[in-house]
C-alpha cells in the first residue's frame, strides 16, 4: 500500500542557522562573533529563551515552510546543554514542517569533556557532527593555539562516529611553517579516521585577530601566495585520490549524500533563517530577497528578540545585489551557478568567452574550471560588469 505524501507547504524550502557564541577559549586566528563562556551560565539561559522567541517571530514572517536543515554553529555549540539543544530543535520542528531527512548539524570541539556529551547531543536530535580537529599533528595544534592534542582529537572522532551517522572533520592548512609534507600527512591521517566529509580551510589572517597582530609585528611569517596555492592544489589532489569530490572550494564529500546540505543552501542561494547573536539570514518573501542580520552583542540580541518580531535588521536586496551574492557564492560550487540566476547582473557573454580558460558554461550553468578554483574570487570580480 502506497502512502499518500503530505502536501508540501508553500514557499521555498528553509534552513535554520543557530549561532551559539560561547567558547572555552578564543582561537588566535578566529574573527567570529564569540566570547568566553566561563561565568555566563545565566546569560546563556536567557539566550536560549531569546533564540526560541526569535524562531517563533521568524515563523510569523516566513509562514509555513519545509524545514530541510538545522545547523548549530558558533562559537562552540558542543558546550550547549543537550536539553537546550533538544528544545531548540523541537521549536524549529514545531514552527516549520520538518523534511523526512532533516539534517541537524552541530559544530564541536574535539576535547574529552565535549566528546562525553556527544551521545546526549545525538539523543537531543543532532544527526551530523562537524568536528574542528584542525590538525592531527601536536606541533600544528600547538601553533594554532588549540586546547587539545592529536590523541584527544582521535578519541573525539571515534566517539563521534559511534554517536552520529554523519561526521565531518575540519582541517586548516597554510599555517606558518607548514610544508607540503606536513599537510599531506594531516590529510592522510584525517582520511584514515574514515569521515564522510572533510572541510579543508586555508588559514586566513583576519583583521583584529591575535595571528594578524603577530604577523603585523613581524613575529609570525604568513606563507606566500605560491606556497598557499601549492597546498590548495595538494588538498584537491590527495582528497580526490581517496574518492572525495571537491564539491566546493574548501569542502570535500565521499558521496553526494555526504555533502553538507545546510551549507549548500548558502552556496545555492536558497532560504535560511539566522537566529542567535550576529546571525545572518536570507529569505525570499513575495519574490523579494531579504537579508536579515541579528544584533551582534549578546545582551542586545536577548533584548531585541522580543515578542514583537525577529531580532535585528531586515533589508530588501535589489535584484542586482541578490544576483551579485549568487555569483560570489555560486561560483564556489563545482556545479556552478545557473546563468538564469544572474540575469539581473547582465554578465556579458563576451566576457565569459574571454575568460574561457578559467570558466565554462555547461547546461546553462556558469562554472569555474577545476584548474582555476584557486582564483575564484578574482573570476567573480572579472565577470561582474563594471
Amino acid at each position: 500500500m502506497r502512502s499518500i505524501p503530505a502536501p508540501s507547504p508553500p514557499g521555498p524550502a528553509l534552513g535554520l542557522y543557530v549561532h551559539w557564541p560561547y567558547c572555552r577559549r578564543i582561537c588566535p586566528y578566529c574573527d567570529f562573533n564569540v566570547v568566553r563562556h566561563r561565568g555566563r551560565e545565566t546569560e546563556a539561559r536567557a539566550l536560549v529563551a531569546a533564540i526560541l522567541r526569535d524562531i517563533a517571530a521568524h515563523r510569523a514572517r516566513t509562514g509555513p515552510r519545509r524545514l530541510v536543515s538545522i545547523f548549530l554553529g558558533g562559537g562552540t555549540p558542543s558546550l550547549m546543554r543537550p536539553e537546550d539543544v533538544a528544545e531548540i530543535i523541537a521549536a524549529a520542528r514545531g514552527a516549520w514542517s520538518p523534511a523526512a531527512d532533516l539534517e541537524v548539524s552541530l559544530e564541536a570541539n574535539p576535547t574529552d569533556a565535549e566528546a562525553e556529551g556527544f551521545a546526549a547531543l545525538a539523543g537531543a536530535g543532532v544527526n551530523r557532527l562537524s568536528l574542528g580537529v584542525q590538525s592531527l599533528s601536536d606541533e600544528a595544534l600547538a601553533r594554532l593555539g588549540r586546547n587539545h592534542d592529536a590523541a584527544t582529537a582521535r578519541r573525539a572522532v571515534a566517539r563521534a562516529q559511534t554517536a552520529f551517522a554523519r561526521v565531518s572533520l575540519d582541517l586548516i592548512h597554510s599555517w606558518p611553517g607548514q610544508d607540503e609534507w606536513a599537510w599531506r600527512s594531516d590529510l592522510e591521517a584525517a582520511l584514515a579516521l574514515g569521515p564522510e566529509h572533510i572541510s579543508a580551510y586555508e588559514l586566513t589572517f583576519e583583521p583584529g585577530t591575535a595571528f594578524t597582530r603577530a604577523r603585523d609585528r613581524g613575529r609570525m611569517v604568513a606563507p606566500d601566495e605560491d606556497h598557499r596555492a601549492r597546498l590548495f592544489a595538494l588538498t584537491g589532489e590527495v582528497l580526490s585520490g581517496h574518492g572525495f569530490q571537491a564539491y566546493e572550494i574548501s569542502n570535500f564529500a565521499r558521496s553526494p549524500a555526504a555533502r553538507a546540505r545546510h551549507n549548500l543552501i548558502y552556496w545555492r542561494g536558497e532560504d535560511y533563517v539566522g537566529v542567535g547573536p550576529g546571525a545572518h539570514g536570507r529569505l525570499t518573501l513575495d519574490g523579494v530577497r531579504i537579508a536579515t542580520e541579528a544584533p551582534r552583542a549578546i545582551d542586545a540580541y536577548v533584548k531585541a528578540a522580543g515578542d514583537e518580531g525577529p531580532a535585528g535588521a531586515w533589508l530588501a536586496l535589489t535584484a542586482q545585489e541578490a544576483a551579485l551574492e549568487r555569483l560570489a557564492m555560486g561560483l564556489r560550487l563545482a556545479e556552478g551557478v545557473p546563468l538564469a540566476d544572474l540575469a539581473a547582473l547582465a554578465v556579458d557573454p563576451m566576457r565569459i568567452a574571454e575568460l574561457g580558460a578559467f570558466v565554462d558554461v555547461q547546461e546553462g550553468r556558469l562554472i569555474v574550471r577545476p584548474s582555476a578554483r584557486a582564483v575564484t574570487d578574482r573570476l567573480a570580480l572579472e565577470l561582474c560588469p563594471v
Binding site: 601566495e225 572550494i249 539566522g274 537579508a291 560570489a328 582564483v375 575564484t376 578574482r378 573570476l379 570580480l381
Partner: protein
C-alpha cells in the same frame, strides 16, 4: 599730493628661503605703525595660504611704510616683496627694477646660500645700493663675523657695516630703518615729463577685478586718466589709484618714485603683462622702459583628473588660475592612459608644484601629473623645426634630423661632506662642471646641466643626498643638440603613452630599467603573466614580468559571509573605475602617479 623725491626710498629684500625675509618685513610694518599688534598676523605679506605654509613668496607684493627718522624727517618707504625663487626670476627682475636699493638678509647662523647669490647678483645688475643685514643674531649658533667675511668673499661687497638684527625679537629693527633712509638713494624722476610707469605685477581681485601694481618713473598718474600699455597696445581709463599700507588705501595720484596700484576695467591678468610700460594716451613718452620680456613657460606636464567626471571642473579651475597667473598656460590633451586633461606650461618646477597644489586645495581636484618635460626643438629631415611640448608627439624617428634641448647653469652650495654625492648626481645627470670652489666650509659647484635632467626630481635628490643642506639655483642657457631618443614603456606589448619620454641615449637603459621595475611592482597580478618592457623604437632595452595571480579565493564562505562578499565585490567594482585598460591589462591610476614620481635611478 605726490611725495617729494628725497623723502622716498624704494627697496626690496633679497634673502634665501627661511632666512627671515617675511618676518623682517612684518617687523618693519609693525615698527612703522602700518598695523596694530592686533591686526598683525604672522607674515602679512605672504598672504596666499600656500605662501604662508611654505614660507615663500609667489606674487610680488608691496607695502608703503611711513617712517619718522632720527633726522626728524618723515619718509615714505616702499617695500617690494619679491618672489625669491628662480622660477619667478623675471618677476624678481621687474620688482628690482622698481627699486633703488636692496636689503641683503643673511641668516647669521647659516650664511650665504645659492639663492641669495643669484638674487643679489640680479640686484647688483639693477645698480642697487645693497645694505647687508645679518638676521637671527640672537641665535646661539649665530656667527656674524664669519658670515660677514663670507658675504665679502662670495658676493664681493663691503659687509663691514652690515646691520645686525633679529627680526624675531625686534632687536636692531630701528637700525635697519635708519640704514634704509641714510644708505639707500632716493629715486629720480621728473613730475612734469610725460607719464612713464613700470607695470610691476598684476593680479585678480574678486572685488576690484584686475589690480595692477605700478612704479612711476616720470610724470604723474591720476585717476580718470587714459593710460596706454605700450607693449600690449591697449588703452584703459584709470578708475582707482591706491597704495598698500598694507591695507589698500585710495590716493589721488602717484608721482615719480612712488609705488601703488591702479584698477582700470582690465579683463584678464594676461592683458597686464609684467614689465610693460604705462604712459598717458594724450601725451605718450617717447621711450618705453627697457627689459620687457613676454612670459615663456619652460616646464610642461600633463594634468589629468583622477576621476574622468571631474574634467569640466578641471577646465574651469585652470581657467580661473590663468585669470590670475598669465605665466601659466594650458591646452587640452587626451591620453589613452589618463583620459582627457590639459598640457600645462609653467615657469619652473616650483611654479608647477604650486599650481598643482592650488588645483587640489582650492578647487578640490584629485589630479595626476605626467612626468615634467621641457620644450625640445626638433629639426626634421625636411629642414623644418618644430617645438615639442609632449614627448608623445615626437614624429616618426626617420623624419627627425636632430633634437636640441635647453640647458641651464646650476649653482650649488653644499657642506663639504656631501660634495662627492653632489658631484656624482650632477655627473649622472649629464652635468658639465664649470667651477668648483670653497667658501669657508662650504663648497660651491657650478654645473651646466640639461634642464630635462633637472625637472626630473633633481631637486629632491639633491636635498636627500645632502640631508637638506645643499642649496640650488639656476639660470637658463641656450639650446644644445643631444643624442635624444624616445623611450616607450610597453605593458603586455601595448605602449602606454603617459609613460613615454625623451631621454639621452646614454641614460635610456638606466631610466628604462628603473621604470619597468617600478611598473612591475605597481601593476597588480592578473590572471595571466604580463611582460613590461622599455623600448627605443623596436629595440627592447629592459624587461620585467608581472607574475600571474595564483591564489585568490576566500577559504570560508557561509551564510554570514554573503553580505560581506557582496559588499566587497561592489567595492572592487567601484575600484575598477579607477583602472585604465591597456589591451587586457588594467593599470591602477595610482601606478601612473607612482611611476611618474620615480625617485632614484
Amino acid at each position: 599730493m605726490p611725495t617729494p623725491l628725497d623723502q622716498i626710498r624704494n627697496f626690496s629684500i633679497v634673502a634665501h628661503i627661511d632666512h627671515g625675509k617675511s618676518t623682517l618685513s612684518d617687523r618693519l610694518i609693525q615698527a612703522t605703525g602700518g598695523l596694530t599688534d592686533r591686526e598683525m598676523k604672522e607674515q602679512v605679506l605672504d598672504s596666499m595660504e600656500i605662501e604662508r605654509e611654505r614660507g615663500i613668496t609667489i606674487k610680488a607684493q608691496t607695502v608703503r611704510l611711513t617712517y619718522k627718522a632720527d633726522d626728524g624727517q618723515t619718509y615714505v618707504l616702499n617695500l617690494m616683496d619679491t618672489p625669491g625663487h628662480v622660477d619667478f626670476a623675471y618677476e624678481v627682475s621687474r620688482s628690482l627694477a622698481a627699486c633703488e636699493g636692496s636689503l641683503l638678509v643673511v641668516d647669521a647662523s647659516q650664511g650665504v646660500e645659492a639663492q641669495t647669490l643669484a638674487n643679489v647678483y640680479q640686484a647688483l645688475e639693477h645698480d642697487h645700493e645693497i645694505v647687508p643685514v645679518l638676521n637671527k643674531v640672537d641665535l646661539p649658533a649665530a656667527e656674524p663675523d664669519r658670515v660677514r667675511q663670507q658675504i665679502e668673499d662670495v658676493i664681493g661687497i663691503d659687509a663691514s657695516d652690515a646691520v645686525s638684527c633679529s627680526a624675531k625679537t625686534g632687536l636692531g629693527i630701528h637700525d635697519v630703518l635708519e640704514a634704509i633712509v641714510t644708505r639707500l638713494p632716493p629715486p629720480k624722476g621728473d613730475p612734469a615729463a610725460p607719464l612713464k610707469a613700470l607695470l610691476v605685477d598684476a593680479w585678480y581681485d574678486p572685488y576690484l577685478g584686475v589690480v595692477v601694481l605700478v612704479r612711476v618713473f616720470d610724470g604723474v598718474l591720476k585717476a580718470g586718466a587714459q593710460v596706454r600699455m605700450m607693449q600690449a597696445g591697449a588703452t584703459y581709463k584709470v578708475d582707482k589709484i591706491g597704495v598698500f599700507k598694507p591695507k589698500a588705501t585710495d590716493v589721488e595720484s602717484l608721482g615719480p618714485g612712488e609705488v601703488g596700484f591702479i584698477t582700470a576695467q582690465i579683463k584678464e591678468v594676461a592683458d597686464a603683462a609684467v614689465g610693460d610700460t604705462l604712459t598717458e594716451e594724450r601725451r605718450p613718452t617717447a621711450q618705453a622702459l627697457t627689459g620687457f620680456k613676454p612670459v615663456q613657460p619652460v616646464v610642461f606636464c600633463g594634468l589629468f583628473p583622477v576621476d574622468a567626471a571631474d574634467f569640466e571642473d578641471l577646465r574651469a579651475a585652470v581657467g580661473r588660475l590663468r585669470l590670475n597667473d598669465a605665466s601659466f598656460t594650458y591646452e587640452m590633451e587626451t591620453s589613452a592612459a589618463l583620459g582627457f586633461g590639459f598640457r600645462c606650461g609653467f615657469l619652473g618646477l616650483l611654479h608647477l608644484e604650486i599650481i598643482q597644489e592650488r588645483l587640489s586645495r582650492e578647487f578640490n581636484l584629485d589630479l595626476i601629473a605626467t612626468a615634467p618635460s621641457v620644450i625640445y626643438k626638433v629639426t626634421l629631415t625636411s629642414g623644418e623645426t618644430i617645438e615639442l611640448h609632449n614627448p608623445a608627439d615626437l614624429p616618426d624617428p626617420v623624419k627627425v634630423a636632430t633634437i636640441a634641448e635647453p640647458w641651464i647653469r646650476a649653482t650649488i652650495f653644499t657642506p663639504d661632506e656631501y660634495l662627492g654625492a653632489v658631484i656624482k648626481l650632477c655627473q649622472d645627470r649629464r652635468g658639465m662642471q664649470k667651477e668648483l670652489s670653497y667658501v669657508g666650509a662650504r663648497a660651491m659647484a657650478v654645473y651646466d646641466l640639461p634642464l630635462n635632467e633637472v625637472v626630473f626630481d633633481f631637486y629632491d635628490r639633491l636635498k636627500s643626498i645632502s640631508k637638506g643642506y645643499a642649496s640650488f639655483d639656476y639660470q637658463m642657457l641656450e639650446y644644445r643638440e643631444g643624442d635624444l631618443v624616445k623611450m616607450s614603456i610597453l605593458v603586455n606589448a601595448e605602449p602606454v603613452d603617459a609613460l613615454s619620454m625623451l631621454v639621452h641615449r646614454s641614460r635610456a637603459e638606466a631610466r628604462g630599467r628603473g621604470m619597468v621595475e617600478k611598473m612591475k611592482d605597481l601593476i597588480p597580478p592578473h590572471l595571466f603573466v604580463i611582460p613590461i618592457q622599455a623600448a627605443i623604437g623596436g629595440k627592447i632595452i629592459a624587461r620585467e614580468t608581472v607574475r600571474a595571480l595564483r591564489k585568490d579565493v576566500t577559504a570560508k564562505c557561509y551564510g554570514g559571509d554573503a553580505s560581506r562578499k557582496r559588499k566587497l565585490l561592489d567595492k572592487q567594482r567601484e575600484g575598477k573605475k579607477r583602472l585604465r585598460q591597456f589591451g587586457r591589462v588594467e593599470i591602477p591610476q595610482e601606478a601612473f602617479i607612482a611611476a611618474l614620481k620615480m625617485d632614484a635611478d
